[in-house]
């Protein structure tokens, strides 16, 4: 029903002198979508968000919001709301004044402001703190205040720059859930920057994975998890990350540690590959590749084993029953479709 908040990024480049921060970034965000920009620090995801917000200008390329070219339009005229990583609350104003500021700037009648402010504060559960100043709030409360300031205006785009990174672990999980509910109930397009793949996986409808200023993959979290299209993404998504080992490929099979495994890949001929396999996809059974357990990490309901495979490390996630002990020898195998093969030269996925 909400047709507002469509974003198109077309061939965006951003250069700081010699340094190229963004290389030909293009993507589309659908109205009402929760879209995550995921990547390690310095990968260009925050720069992308700032260009979308209008805080920075791209060196070349075009930004379209709802079909209008806004490349040269200032942040003030883009009708977007943003939550900053540092929250960026106005320190001299009370919570209520902070939240009402965007409404006052938009010349909303005074009589409507008070109700709107209270409503926004209630949505993020800080209605009892309206008279406080940011300096008197805890980190989590400041974060909520920043959220309230962003949602009070009903902007067409809701931008979040690592909003949870300054919260402690427990609060982060709670707020994450609330954020998702909030976005659903407001029915607004959200663009979310994070370096935490778990956050992106849980929150996003779709995500773009950034590496070194480029988008390497766009898709739903499930797609990206199931079919990472480069070694870098394979190693970035998932916890613990995907095991990546050198192997020989020939006619559908790979040879790993002297053992032959079937894969789902159908390429004729033989070549060197990098084989990837998720820690959770490895089966411990009667037959397969023999390897020694170097270390056991108990995580409660699961355990992570560090296996030694001819000098290479392989991590396996197992259930909490019959966990092998350190020093044991186990046999591991995997289903053919669980092997991901990558080209060691181009680092891309082999189909």
């Amino acid at each position: 029903m909400n047709a507002r908040g469509q974003v198109i990024f077309k061939d965006i480049w951003k250069k700081h002198g010699e340094f190229v921060a963004l290389k030909d970034v293009s993507f589309e965000i659908n109205p009402g979508e929760f879209f995550a920009l995921l990547g390690p620090s310095g990968s260009g995801k925050s720069t992308t968000l700032r260009i979308l917000a209008g805080l920075d200008a791209p060196t070349s390329g075009r930004v379209l919001i709802d079909g209008n070219d806004v490349t040269g339009v200032d942040a003030a005229d883009r009708d977007v709301a943003m939550v900053f990583q540092s929250y960026a609350l106005y320190p001299h104003m009370t919570v209520a004044e902070n939240i009402s500021f965007p409404l006052e700037m938009a010349k909303v009648p005074k009589s409507e402001i008070a109700a709107a402010v209270f409503d926004a504060a209630r949505k993020v559960k800080i209605e009892h703190l309206l008279d406080r100043r940011p300096g008197q709030l805890s980190g989590g409360q400041q974060q909520r205040c920043a959220l309230a300031r962003a949602i009070v205006r009903k902007a067409r785009l809701f931008l979040l720059d690592e909003p949870l990174s300054n919260l402690d672990a427990k609060l982060r999980l709670e707020t994450r859930v609330e954020l998702k509910k909030l976005q659903r109930s407001l029915d607004v397009t959200a663009v979310y920057v994070t370096h935490d793949q778990e956050e992106a996986m849980t929150l996003a409808d779709r995500m773009a994975v950034f590496m070194a200023g480029e988008i390497q993959q766009i898709g739903t979290p499930a797609e990206v998890f199931a079919k990472p299209n480069s070694i870098d993404i394979a190693g970035f998504i998932g916890n613990p990350p995907m095991n990546l080992v050198n192997a020989k490929y020939s006619d559908g099979d790979i040879i790993l540690g002297g053992q032959r495994f079937k894969t789902a890949v159908q390429i004729t001929g033989s070549r060197d590959v990098i084989a990837g396999i998720r820690p959770s996809a490895i089966r411990i059974g009667a037959d397969g590749l023999k390897s020694r357990v170097d270390l056991v990490e108990h995580l409660g309901d699961t355990a992570v084993l560090d296996l030694d495979i001819g000098g290479a490390l392989m991590r396996v996630r197992v259930g909490d029953e019959n966990v092998p002990k350190e020093g044991d020898t186990v046999s591991i195998s995997a289903r053919p479709q669980d092997f991901h093969l990558f080209d060691p030269e181009t680092r891309k996925r082999l189909v």
């Binding site: 209008g54 003030a76 005229d77 709301a81 900053f84 106005y90 500021f101 965007p102 938009a106």
Partner: protein, 311 residues
Amino acid sequence: MLAGENTMTAGPAEIASSDFGRVLVQRERRFATLLLAPAFFALLLTTTFPLLFLVYTSVYRINLSMPFMNGFVGLENYKVLLADDRFWHSLIVSLVYTISTVLLQIVIGLALALFVMNMKRGQGWFRIIAILPVVLSPAVVGMIWRTFMLAPEFGIVDYLAITAGLGSKNWLGDPSLAMVSVIVIHTWQWTPFAFMVLLASLASLPEDIYEAARIDRASAWQRFRRITLPLLRPAIVMVIIMRTMVALTAFAAIFTVTGGGPGTATEILNLYAYRKSFTELSIGYGSALAVALLIVTIIISAILFAIRRSK
């Protein structure tokens, strides 16, 4: 107190060590007192004593040209002062001088600071050049302006006035122009101070809240009014307090430029007290004038500090 209570339950070893601690503290305090004493006495001698002596002389008639009349007169000097038109006139001149110079310093200083903040390059040079007037002695500044800038025909300001078609003006001879001149001179010398303080304060403001304000659709003027000004308020009030104290007690620049003239047009309270004491040699009455200035200064600073504390 607490240490003493602890020793009640502690063993002998702790008692000894806590005694040792107390001795150390005592010794340190004695040493600190010793270090502070010279400065303390110097201050007492150079500020407190002269101040008390001033109050003392203000209740005597001391006239060096008529020493035979000298003697205790009680509050006679103050009674005369309250009925003295020239005192009220100089008080008003002082207030006009102070208010206008402080206001001008704040406004120009803030404008310069905002301008320099946005300069891409050359900030360092601007700061060095801007600070030059501050390091000059006010007496030297007065001389520079009287000869270099305001002298009829040859002075730069007068030359510019002639070139602009305003004609040669008697900058220091015309009563109202003379007042404007001394205000401009003081502002010229001390605006860099306000500029430096406000620039430092501006530079310390977080950048992200300006980005948040842009996203919140605040215009440049609204960002200045609603964010910059309130956040600069402590620095502005501090500058006002410091500059008001100095402006109220200004002396050298006016003394060298106009000497209080023409007539009494630029005669601030300070200058009047000086003239009474050292030109007319009526030291008792001069002291009473100085005490009056002291009282005015204390009242104004009390008001300013109250403003600073509020909110």
